[in-house]
């Protein structure tokens, strides 16, 4: 491998120090720079070292030391600090050394470490693998911890979404559901267990989520969402996840999100198919741009009539969790203006482009919020014959 040859050359040329030697020099006032990514530092960095990640090193080294000053470099196990040392030498830093075995050996030898002040030991260990991602790091983890996410429905979509959002470290996770656990739920609603049959889904969900991650604040709302209670519930949250199982709730969630300026992470499933999208705060497009009216009676069977393969809401609920993480942290590109369809039969995903409906009553430019409607009537009254008169 080219890199192996290159690292061997650097090892021959660059002075290496054992961690114990490096610690002694550090104590004598020599500069040690930890070149790992911010997320990696959460698990501990050598006490007294300064943090300057590999990709910022050349740009910011000037602020820490002039070229004539000795500099020790440390990374996770050695290769990055060798490459970093080579880069600094090219810039005129002639007294650069590398700590052999990196932080891994430093820790193995029981030398002292510190963590960034705002990251506690549990956080550092629990989220280590995602904070290690340079694009994620401590900053995104902190944003996740500050996020407040409400799941509408603790069922097929809400279950996987809640599990992964709790595991990922969402700070406050709310659940709205007024149902009780039934045996027929359990093939897909993986928050709940057989011994919870008959208990409120919110209680069952809370127990599962708190056992998974005690750091998450789980809030439960064992009510049916209505025009009367929707604003008082939604206003405590920053992101709404629509995992409901009926049209009246879906239109209510959409309308309240438009009114309150909240993003709506939409998912829906039936039989072998699912879809997911993100309707941004303020819409354009919103759920009503996509489906201006619900199906008339008899045109769309419910999940209990049509059935659903258990893993389908699993896939879609996880995609909803992914979108929440992106919205909460700013990492990645959310599915705004895009509709992702999943076909379990062919294991195929396809992406469609969604545009705003310029005539949308709820989110079109310059429209005032038209108010909530009687959602049960809106979604159940029309028959095929009624619709014909509207043609």
């Amino acid at each position: 491998m080219v890199i192996d040859k290159r690292l061997a050359e650097l090892r021959d040329r660059i002075s290496l120090l054992s961690p114990a030697e490096a610690r002694a020099r550090l104590a004598a006032g020599e500069l040690m720079i930890d070149v790992r990514e911010p997320g990696e530092l959460a698990q501990g960095m050598p006490a007294g070292a300064r943090a300057l990640s590999r990709n910022e090193l050349e740009l910011q080294i000037d602020e820490l030391a002039p070229p004539e000053v000795p500099v020790m470099l440390i990374c996770a196990s050695g290769p990055r600090s060798l490459l970093a040392a080579d880069a600094l030498q090219r810039m005129g830093y002639s007294r650069v050394t590398v700590i052999e075995g990196g932080v891994e050996r430093w820790k193995r030898e029981g030398l002292p470490c510190t963590r960034p002040e705002h990251v506690d030991a549990d956080t550092a260990e629990r989220y280590a693998r995602q904070m290690n991602l340079p694009e994620f790091g401590i900053e995104a983890q902190a944003k996740l911890a500050d996020s407040r996410v409400l799941l509408v429905g603790a069922g097929g979509l809400g279950s996987p979404a809640a599990l992964y959002l709790a595991a990922a470290g969402v700070g406050t996770l709310g659940l709205v559901d007024d149902d009780r656990v039934e045996r027929s739920n359990l093939h897909r609603q993986v928050l709940h267990r057989d011994d919870g049959i008959g208990t409120p889904k919110t209680d069952s969900a809370r127990a599962t989520l708190e056992a998974l991650n005690p750091k998450v604040e789980v809030r439960t709302h064992q009510v049916r969402l209505t025009s009367e209670n929707v604003e008082s519930i939604f206003s405590d949250y920053r992101i709404i996840v629509d995992g409901s199982d009926n049209f009246p709730t879906r239109y209510l969630v959409n309308d309240a999100c438009i009114k309150l300026g909240l993003p709506n992470v939409y998912g829906a499933v039936q039989r072998f198919e699912g879809r997911v999208s993100v309707f941004a705060a303020g819409g354009r497009p919103c759920y009503r741009c996509l489906f201006s009216e619900p199906p008339e009676a008899g045109m769309a069977p419910s999940c209990s009539e049509a059935g659903v393969l258990g893993v389908v809401p699993g896939v879609i609920g996880l995609l909803q969790a992914l979108e929440v993480i992106k919205l909460a942290t700013g990492v990645g590109d959310p599915l705004i203006g895009r509709l992702l369809l999943f076909d379990a039969r062919s294991t195929r995903m396809r992406e469609l482009s969604l545009g705003p409906d310029p005539g949308c009553r709820y989110c079109a430019d310059g429209r005032d919020f038209p108010g909530y409607v009687d959602y049960a009537e809106f979604c159940s009254g029309a028959t095929s014959e009624d619709l014909e008169t509207h043609d």
């Binding site: 097929g156 809400g158 829906a268 069977p301 659903v308």
Partner: protein, 90 residues
């Protein structure tokens, strides 16, 4: 040849198939041909008056035809017409 791609929910009304090949130069013609073979499937997409039902979206080349020429959207050999109705399951 145009391919009409039906959602799971409409397949029972179209002989159980997912894709139907038709000769058509517009979305309206494609749905007319669908209706000749499977009238009930067409009725789930269009009203008797021939309008797209509000809970159904039709996509050609991954774009919603409502944002373009609607039912008059032109189809070319090899195009797909994808039918995406609203579903509520969660």
């Amino acid at each position: 040849m145009i391919k009409i791609e039906l959602p799971d929910a409409l397949r029972p009304l179209a002989g159980g198939v997912q894709e139907i090949a038709v000769e058509a130069s517009s979305v309206a013609e494609a749905l007319e041909e669908l209706g000749r073979r499977y009238p009930e499937a067409r009725l789930r997409i269009l009203t008797r008056g021939g309008q797209i039902r509000p809970h159904v979206n039709l996509f050609v080349r991954e774009r919603d035809i409502r944002s373009g020429d609607g039912l008059e959207t032109e189809l070319h050999d090899g195009d797909s017409l994808l039918v995406v109705p609203s579903v509520a399951g969660g």
